[in-house]
Symmetry: C2
Subunit: 303 residues, 2 copies
């Protein structure tokens, strides 16, 4: 009786953290989406404190948007998808957070993206935004590839493209590499004439700082710039290989998510591009489904 | 009269900062080298506080080694070569340091390495250690190439090799890249069987953490591992191109300095390898010459 009542009144919040922003959506099974909020960067690999801050900002904005009181944060059952929590040490650290929610269920941003994209059914997703990675769930078995973080992994991501472009431009400006149209683009963007002027501004930048440069690579590739074409092609080839690897597990659907999903599409292997379907729901809805699944499983166990 | 007396008693300290260690040598013109000290990482691009701490540790050890009192730090004329101080913002920040020395003269680690290698005469140097870069002084004109920092530059350096190796191993372990002998080496080194286990341990590592892996790349290349050979060859090709660019300025000598100078030598363009001569003095002696030049110029101006 008690358990059933709790279930009826339940408030959920789905949180999708990323390298550049954090999205939160508040939801109840009776009323659907109640409100949404947008916070800053929430990739715990690049700063745990900043991530928790972004989660709280997006949560508070979602509460406000939903017309709920600040204290009602304690009523929320949070589902949370964050990059890097496949690393056990990071998962544990975040689970130790003295969070304000009623309960908190944590998984990777890949997992919640996949749950959202296929509305909780089997399927595979490739995320290509600031980072890149692939994930599938088929018959209860999940696998993931890539997602090893900037700069050692994340090939084909925005940050990877930006870094490759910077490397190529620094070589060109030093007279040690192929000429590229991106050099003039970056001289103008960074308002400097020298390699050192660019290097200085990029020194210590997080992956999101590099990801902002990806659009220059696509622009230059459209203009047939050889160096930019090589970067885009290499990135797209990796994403195609990642997709093929995921399709080996026979997922019924494949979706691509993130800021680079659309611009990369035309550079993919045509067989792969033909298999890509639109995600049914966004990752923050996947995070809500994840919380609902966990709460309902716990209630079943309790009864 | 006063100036001459000061000059006779002058104590110098030469400091050579690097990504993994900091060397200090105390010197007087009458007695030569009085003592040396070794401190931790001193690359201000990777942490200013740590750098200043390493400088002080190496200074204190050098004072002790020279049989000087702790307070005599105030008598030292310091010449200092640090990575990244070609970036004006970083140069200014370090010059604002409330240092304990009588005077402090700051320049790049490249500059002091070059002064040392050619005992103050014209010449060119390539540094390939944790980072990589090239520098020459010819007829009072200095130029430098590369040295743009990890991970956007420093091709052919230890950190670059380590990063390329990690990237290749993560691809191999995900079934998305060529098989490489380095995968087994890294599984054993990191004591893990998975890509994620390696990625977790490398997450957030500074360039020095990657540079430690360079020896595996050379070992695998010696065993004809294709992936390792491609990395070593690409790195050596860049260093050869860097050398050719420096030789365009007609320096009378060319030296290579740093932990990778020796292992890389056999992979260089043979014309370049034949031009490489041993450095006459280490970078910390170059830093001492740099301080002496500055002190004596100032005395000349004062008289």
């Amino acid at each position: 009786m008690m358990a059933k009542q709790v279930q009826q009144d339940q408030l959920y919040i789905g949180i999708d953290g990323g390298g550049t922003k954090c999205r939160a959506t508040i939801y109840s099974k009776q009323h659907g989406v109640l409100g949404t909020g947008l916070g800053g960067p929430a990739n715990p690999l690049h700063g745990l404190e900043r991530t928790l801050e972004s989660i709280m900002v997006s949560t508070q904005l979602a509460l406000q948007d939903a017309g709920l009181r600040v204290e009602q944060v304690h009523e929320l059952n949070a589902g949370m998808g964050l990059a890097g929590v496949n690393l056990p040490a990071l998962y544990d650290k975040i689970m130790q957070w003295d969070h304000p929610f009623q309960q908190m269920f944590l998984t990777t941003d890949l997992h919640t993206a996949c749950i959202g994209a296929h509305e909780g059914q089997d399927g595979a997703v490739i995320i290509t935004g600031t980072g890149s990675c692939g994930f599938s769930i088929v018959s209860g078995r999940s696998v993931n590839y890539g997602g090893h973080g900037f700069a050692q992994g994340d090939i084909g991501s925005g940050a990877w493209m930006g870094l490759e472009a910077i490397k190529a431009v620094l070589l060109d400006l030093d007279g040690l590499g192929k000429a590229t149209a991106m050099s003039d683009m970056f001289k103008s963007h960074f308002n400097t004439l020298t390699a050192m002027g660019i290097a200085e501004q990029m020194a210590g930048q997080p992956s999101s700082g590099y990801a902002k440069l990806a659009r220059f690579v696509f622009n230059a590739a459209e203009q047939e710039d050889e160096v930019a074409l090589a970067i885009v092609t290499q990135g797209a080839d990796y994403i195609s290989r990642l997709a093929k690897r995921l399709l080996e597990n026979q997922p019924p659907r494949l979706s691509m998510i993130g800021g680079l999903a659309e611009p990369l599409n035309k550079w993919l292997d045509p067989d792969i591009a033909a298999r890509v379907e639109l995600p049914k729901q966004p990752p923050e809805m996947g995070a809500i489904y994840f919380a609902i699944q966990n709460v309902e499983q716990n209630l079943e166990k309790a009864n």
